[in-house]
């Protein structure tokens, strides 16, 4: 960023997208959008996949900062962040350890509960526990303890992949099988009925703040993969149609979750507001979707900010800060 003449130049930014996760396709879309937004603000950025050519490139031509638009394990479980730390390259977003904690939903939920942040009751079980103890008995116990309806989802993962709502006992086995196709551990949660909202949290150098909550109303009632990434299948209300007091409680809880998990720069917190107006934190995302139908860019716009400028500011802060 400082050339040999001692004068300042624009930072060279590497946007990472793709990867080998189930969310590769989403990530490529996010990456393209991030790239366009950065370039639109006059910054110099290029897009790269996370593959065997990445490390040699980082060594030969180290960028001033990396923006991680990778979703799924590579982008979110902290491992790639750890590698960037090894290389001494700054990146936008949470440090490796915080990312790892947030990525594993059961671990994140435990931390949230310790911090007194409401999250639906749950149990997390690897598939081999079912074979050891007998699926029928374990499922019956889960149902007895948590009650129907239930939410079954991979302990690690995103985009609604492998997730399903179980309203009848007979559907529980199938939901477990679908879930285990994506991950070896399933998170079974008490399903909270209410208003789905996502709150984006940003920190542009003066402490974290929340953007207006985005309310999610899928046309078919289910916010699955198709509903997330097909424009037209979901209506997003920004700000969420919540009374001021509840909106404020939602924002407070999202901020609480962000802090409890030690997150930095930006994150998205997914919540559900129950019939009594109580917000429950479902999970957090340290590498939120940046596609045209993603929630964080919507929230940025609703907050009166410009997506490209926000990214540019986060990059500037990362460069200043250096590697975590």
């Amino acid at each position: 960023m400082i050339n040999s003449m001692g004068t300042s130049t624009e930072p060279h930014i590497l946007v990472l997208a793709g990867g080998l996760s189930y969310e590769r396709d989403v990530s490529l879309r996010s990456g393209r959008r991030v790239l366009d937004a950065l370039r639109a603000t006059g910054l110099s950025a290029e897009l790269r996949d996370a593959d065997v050519a990445l490390l040699p490139t980082l060594q030969e031509d180290p960028p001033d900062a990396v923006v991680i638009a990778l979703h799924g394990a590579t982008g979110e479980d902290g491992s790639l962040r750890g590698v960037l730390d090894l290389c001494g390259i700054p990146y936008v977003g949470s440090p490796a350890a915080a990312a790892r904690l947030a990525w594993d939903k059961p671990s994140a939920k435990s931390r949230l509960r310790e911090e007194g942040i409401l999250t639906p009751d749950w149990v997390a079980l690897p598939h081999d526990r079912f074979s050891e103890l007998g699926a029928v008995a374990v499922l019956a116990r889960i149902e007895e303890r948590l009650g129907l309806p239930l939410m079954v989802k991979p302990a690690q993962g995103g985009s609604g992949l492998g997730a399903s709502v179980v309203r009848e006992s007979t559907a529980l086995s199938a939901a477990m099988v679908s879930c285990f196709a994506y991950d070896s551990t399933a998170l079974v949660e008490k399903y909270v009925t209410g208003t789905s909202v996502a709150v984006s949290v940003l920190d542009l150098g003066e402490g974290p703040f929340t953007l207006p909550a985005v309310e999610i109303v899928p046309r078919n009632g289910v916010y699955d993969y198709a509903a997330r990434y097909t424009a037209g299948l979901t209506t997003w209300h920004t700000p969420a149609r919540l009374p001021a007091a509840i909106a404020s409680a939602v924002a407070g809880r999202a901020l609480g979750a962000y802090r409890a998990l030690g997150l930095k720069d930006l994150a998205r917190v997914d919540l559900i507001v129950d019939a009594e107006g109580e917000p429950h934190v479902l999970g957090v995302n340290v590498s939120p979707g940046m596609t045209e139908t993603s929630l964080l860019p919507l929230a940025v716009q609703a907050g009166g900010l410009e997506f490209g400028k926000v990214l540019g500011e986060l990059v500037r802060l990362a460069v200043e800060r250096g590697a975590w």
Binding site: Y182, T230, A231, T234, H237
Partner: protein
Amino acid sequence: MTGTTQDDYTDRYARRVRGMTTSEIRALFAVASRPEVVSLAGGQPYIAALPLDAVGEMMNKVGADLGTTSLQYGIGQGTIELREHICQVMELSGITGASPDDVVVTVGGQQALDLVARLFLDPGDVVLAEGPTYVGALGVFQAAQAQVRHVAMDADGLIPAALEEAIVATGGRAKFLYTIPTYQNPAGVTLTEERREQVLDICERHGLLVVEDDPYGMLSFEGETPRPLRARRREGVFYLSTFSKTFAPGLRVGWILAPHAVREKLVMASEANILCPSAFAQSAVTQYLATMPWREQLKTYREIYRDRRDAMLDALRDLMPAGTTWTRPNGGLFVWATIPDGLDSKAMMPRAIAARVAYVPGTGFYADGTGTSNMRLNFSFPPPDRIREGIRRLAGVMEQELALRAVFGPTTPQRRRGPAAADTPGPDLA
């Protein structure tokens, strides 16, 4: 206070567009393009086997020497030079005496299909097609708002009795039979000599048109390839083929040989559709057929694909869990596998992607979302050692899934909401 759907046109789309959504299965194929993944999911010919230097020189000529015509508009029907060559190509398959006048050049076989649909299908019409069938055809028929009724096949291809039954069951509403009789995609089976006559007789008796799609007929590995249906009947049969598998899919050149009476309407429909096929691509194919040893090249393809098919069949025999069966294609690009009871090829996809292997779940080849107990495996693109490695990984995935299913018991497969294409990769996947 109003919300946004990020698509202000949602309520304005035509009915045929409904159900066109992103799908998680399609998204999984994005991973299959990475080199770590053994992709048995594609349908690409092994273009690296072409003499690319010579093809490059030839293309140079198409631009430099023939540019005043190859870069210009052409006629809707396609150039006479190419249509004459096409008639020679069809002679090799056994279609003799076809007139270049009855040939319409199309943008790949896909546009040929689209033209037939435009000419014959009204919304609500019925099309009979093999079950399973080519996903691209399902897409065309869906866009025409027609209904597809599948007709069962066995190792000898379409079952004549099932065809007759389907015709009767649709009460005369069926407009045509869409069939890929030779080295079928995805099943890899071939309609036998005997059945060819039976199928034609049945269609004739019921006044049902036949749309014969023949992209793979020239890619035979052994034995005699039965002559196309069109070689047996001049009327009532539309013959569709392409240079995508015999030369280069990137050029997008196919054709349709139609009964004389229909040809004019096909040309008009094509002009309304695309004005004219690419003059450049037609010129390239013409030069290829006129100046290059394309018959030898076909031989090369056959040998490469036979080796790869053998590698796949050997690996399947050696590695697949008990209860798995598969077809043994004598040509073409695909093996169709039937997986053990209780497994769901679509639900198993994420596990396969995690194990770095990809296939196409059988559901991609049925209009009605059935096919969960099948998968299509491509052998034309990956080399033999990668094929074996892919099958090894796939077998492991199936073993894991079988173990899981044993724990949780049988479950009912989820039905797809959108079109068959939601369960298949795009054409760019190798």
